[in-house]
């Protein structure tokens, strides 16, 4: 197995693992946030505007963790620096 194949294998597996593990935490977090927001909406329907706005902002903050993982996995697949370095080296030979 040459180093190119190794880099390809490791990158693909790591990209899948990154998005798989990285989306579990935000999923639980968002579920808890929505559940809490629904409970407080049922208790105080008057404050729905404030609760909804805060919920949206909070959801985006929580979701950004998953988005970071997504960006990392996309970089690993489409813009892998190690892979590009190896390709450049092979082209230079």
């Amino acid at each position: 197995m040459d180093s190119m194949t190794l880099i390809a294998i490791v990158s693909i597996i790591t990209a899948g693992l990154t998005i798989a593990i990285g989306s579990i935490g935000p999923a639980f977090g968002e579920a808890r946030a929505v559940a809490a927001a629904l409970a407080s909406l049922a208790q105080q329907p008057d404050a729905s505007a404030t609760i909804t706005r805060t919920l949206f902002v909070g959801l985006a903050m929580v979701e950004s963790v998953a988005i970071y993982c997504f960006v990392v996995s996309m970089i690993l697949i489409f813009a892998n620096p190690f892979w590009n370095h190896l390709i450049a080296q092979a082209a230079g030979k």
């Binding site: 404030t50 706005r53 949206f56 902002v57 985006a60 950004s64 997504f70 960006v71 996309m74």
Partner: protein, 239 residues
């Protein structure tokens, strides 16, 4: 497959490149500036007004109201910055209904530039409102030990702003591109409709986060809870 519109190059001469990000950013700037210029050229205070003026009034009063709800007492001062941020991000995702268009916010350079604008604007507004000494002293709250953490949070939230917007926009275009190869007919349309929704939510979140940061910087002397309870008391009195 392109990860960002930076890679689509229309014209190149030596060091200077004209890529899709720059072209569509300029296009958006032109649309926004010319559009608002043409609408505000013939403003009327009569009962009869043009529908474009109504549209612009809804947008401006809506942004004003949102800024005021977050806690900035004088929204007229901040709407120039925060409103342009919101309008630019919202328009850049709204124009995805035009075929062949690539949202410039799907490039990390654009979102980093927007985030750096926020990074510079927050201390500027904070110093203008609270004075330089009081603003700098807010970094040592609650104790001096928190100073490095406050500085790190300042930098990391700028990074988070940039990567969040970039990730959302990039994932939207990428998901459509992937779905086009798997199920080419119905699903890409649904996903692009969802992309419009996420684009609007991200524009709202980007500007509301910038507003929250500015609001936190401008009232550095008072803790948030205290002023909120004061507001409630005032409202009770009025009622």
């Amino acid at each position: 497959m392109n990860l960002s519109p930076d890679n689509i190059i229309y014209w190149q001469m030596g060091f200077f490149k004209l890529n899709a990000t720059i072209v569509y950013t300029w296009g958006l700037m032109l649309v926004l500036v010319l559009g608002s210029k043409m609408i505000t050229r013939k403003l009327s205070t009569e009962l009869q007004r043009s529908r474009w003026q109504n549209l612009l009034e809804i947008i401006v009063t809506g942004i004003n109201q949102q800024i005021e709800e977050v806690g900035l007492k004088n929204p007229q001062k901040y709407i120039g910055f925060l409103g342009s941020l919101f309008l630019f991000v919202a328009m850049s995702s709204l124009f995805t209904i035009v075929p062949g268009y690539e949202p410039p916010t799907g490039s990390l350079s654009t979102t980093a530039a927007l985030a750096i604008c926020v990074f510079v604007a927050v201390p500027m507004f904070g110093i203008e409102e609270a004075g330089i000494g009081r603003y700098l002293r807010a970094y040592t709250r609650p104790t001096i030990i928190m100073l490095p953490f406050n500085i790190i949070s300042e930098i990391s939230r700028t990074l988070a702003l940039a990567v969040r917007l970039f990730g959302n926009m990039m994932s939207g275009t990428l998901i459509i591109a992937i779905l086009l190869t798997i199920t080419p007919f119905i699903f890409p349309i649904i996903m692009s409709a969802l992309g419009l929704l996420t684009g609007m939510v991200q524009a709202y979140i980007f500007s509301i986060l910038a507003t929250v940061y500015i609001a936190a910087a401008t009232r550095a002397r008072k803790p948030a809870q205290e002023s909120e309870s004061e507001d409630r008391k005032n409202n009770d009195h009025e009622n």
